[in-house]
Symmetry: C2
Subunit: 411 residues, 2 copies
């Protein structure tokens, strides 16, 4: 006997997308040392933490330095003081009530969307959208729920729901029965959304098929339009079929500070092989208490400050700033006659390449001729081919300059 | 089709140990409202973070509040500035050199020791010590590497290596071939250690059997004796067969602040089903970059301050304080004629119950007659029966008072 590795890892293709983007950018910069390259591929926030968040954060650090206020191990599920603010601010205004033990504070939506599959059987059939946030796919590959990657870039055994201009980026229901559906709205990478009615179609499917929706709402804070649900639990029956993932990353600039949460309603049921019902809340609780040890206490205090009156005001200003950038990008590109999606309820703008260029050709054109870096859509899945993602996380000045440069190109 | 749960979770027994301890304690307190109960079962630190750690922590929070020093997503593996301090301070003094990409910063040794099994095949044979830190066992149960729990409290398919007074708490090598061995030294819960020569026996076994040692050294900072290795890499050949887990939790009071690290040397090799070699460093890197998003930046800065001259001095004082408590407990109980283990290189004291009482009977005796709360050894595994764990994390005053009360008991 010798120690054997988890061979499913060998099915993963190296995540070449951002590596290749960086390589081409570096090569261009080397050959054009004076070029002022504007990065519009950034999927990370750029504005600092809000003053009221900083204040609370430092206050909690001070508590950790004094014997009478020091905190050791906290609950793995997070502190109630934060869960209560989350429920009061993120759910109750939308008519959704939750108990604190249905909210699991964590260190990231990436971690949670990656780990959640552990509580499900390896035999479940999985559906993802195409294009897709690759963590959903890769974590299922690593767990062994797929075969090899095929030549078309899709893994054997996974169901892909196409999202493109032809269907208005609204995925059709899976044609074969599936047990678990990953949905991300507002969507990364396309920036598009589902309306109540469009999301209800999926909730109804899940109810009918006793399936589960894993709903990633990490970009909820950017929603501006009335008919876009802020939480899947606004849809009737969703508490019986959906787990929702939320994050402070984009909402409050916590990408380097790390705090997120996952909602697992107690109504949510899975089945064992004999058809007995099992509460998913209990399983996720067991997973988290066994393999996780809670979020840093000062970080949880900082996250709670996001919900203070002052915090809300400050955070709204930052989000408005990003969304102004998104508006500039969208309107500028539309004026050029380009087909543009997203950017209304999302910091992501998904541009159809002109003249049926492929994603990388358009990427190279923008880099070489406008010195603007985007992200090729094909990197997010086969249906992303022919698109490019731009993001609103740069400064307004750079964003305007980038649009100005692009407007001078001949497509 | 319906969504199916991971049925391995149903094999887990509810972790009743600390729940039952709390229940008995609460009941006693209710019936004896005036009793001054002293908690010696605490597995958590009680002293606040060191002043230099607080200062660095707050400085980094300030950085997050300013546009020019704000940090978004960091490397999932952690920042080099921390990895460099770790290597310089925790390994080089013991003659062990490492590259920064062999050190993976994380939010907890519990998380890492729980997650590490994901990179290994489900068919590997696993060995754990008995008694054991239950995370090693439970995470393998959840992954499906075991059968059901048997009446003796052991899971089918796992190999248990007994540690008790008869073998001086030095586990024998597994009688059947195993692929992965979990070792925790200084040990939780027994507080005992392995010498160089004793640990070398395991390293040699792993080399010979192409097995892997998962070495949990979360309590390294308490080592006082010269012949106890501070890192498994002090043993020749260990870089080829061992992953080491370390933590700032007990070392610097980070149980509520969350920072740890795991060392995966590049020499470390696993095998695919065709016998090809695969670098485990690459697999863990893939696991962490896909399912984890790095530790909070201010927390990493705080952890790095542990290695400053001032930080080292402050932290040593706290550790010395705990170890003075350990000394008091050990010498007091020995004076009473009890058999006592641990407490020399560890904050844990493992007491043989007098007169062959079982663990819970001794627990009840101490609670009812001395108003002192310990942790029944049987909760850590069958070989823990007949032992009780006391910890050094209380105040010196309470520790002395507890020993005084116990000395008045008649066993």
């Amino acid at each position: 006997m010798v120690v054997k590795i988890n061979e499913n890892y060998l099915k993963l293709k190296s995540s070449y997308l951002f590596v290749e983007v960086a390589r081409r950018e570096a090569e261009f910069q080397k050959n054009n040392p004076d070029a002022d390259v504007i990065k519009m591929g950034i999927g990370d926030v750029t504005k600092p933490l809000a003053p009221s968040v900083i204040k609370a954060f430092k206050g909690a650090v001070d508590e950790m330095g004094k014997a009478d206020t020091f905190r050791g191990y906290g609950p793995e599920q997070g502190y109630d003081f934060l869960a209560e603010e989350i429920i009061k601010n993120d759910f109750e205004p939308f008519g959704v009530s939750l108990d604190t033990d249905e909210v699991f504070i964590s260190d990231g939506a990436k971690c949670d969307t990656g780990n959640i599959q552990e509580i499900f059987d390896l035999g479940n059939k999985i559906a993802v959208t195409d294009p897709v946030y690759t963590v959903y796919v890769d974590t299922n590959v690593m767990a062994g729920r797929t075969g090899e990657m095929k030549d078309d870039g899709m893994y054997e055994g996974l169901t892909y729901l196409k999202c493109n201009a032809e269907n208005g980026f609204v995925p059709e229901l899976p044609k074969e029965d599936v047990d678990i559906i990953y949905l991300c709205y507002p969507n990364n990478p396309t920036g598009t959304t589902l309306t109540y009615d469009q999301l209800k179609v999926f909730v109804d499917y899940a109810i009918e098929h006793k399936a589960i929706i894993l709903f990633d709402a990490a970009y909820e804070c950017f929603i501006r339009e009335d008919d876009v649900p802020h939480t899947i639990y606004e849809i009737e029956g969703a508490k019986n079929v959906a787990i929702e993932f939320r994050s402070f990353s984009k909402m409050a600039g916590f990408t380097g500070t790390r705090c997120a949460y996952t909602v697992v309603p107690k109504e949510l049921i899975g089945y064992d092989s004999e058809g007995n019902e099992v509460q998913l809340n209990q399983l996720w609780n067991r997973r988290q208490t066994t393999k996780f040890n809670g979020v840093s206490y000062p970080v949880q205090v900082a996250a709670a400050a996001v919900y203070s009156d002052e915090g809300k005001k400050e955070i709204k200003e930052t989000i408005d700033y990003y969304m102004e950038n998104a508006k500039v990008i969208k309107s500028s590109l539309e004026e050029l006659g380009l087909e543009v999606y997203g950017g209304v309820n999302s910091p992501y703008i998904w541009v159809k390449t002109p003249n049926n260029m492929d994603s990388w050709a358009f990427f190279d054109l923008l880099l070489n001729e406008a010195n603007v870096v985007g992200t090729p859509g094909s990197g997010f899945g086969p249906s992303g081919e022919g698109y490019l993602r731009l993001t609103a996380f740069n400064t307004l000045e750079n964003t305007k300059e980038a649009m100005d440069r692009i407007s001078k190109l001949n497509f």
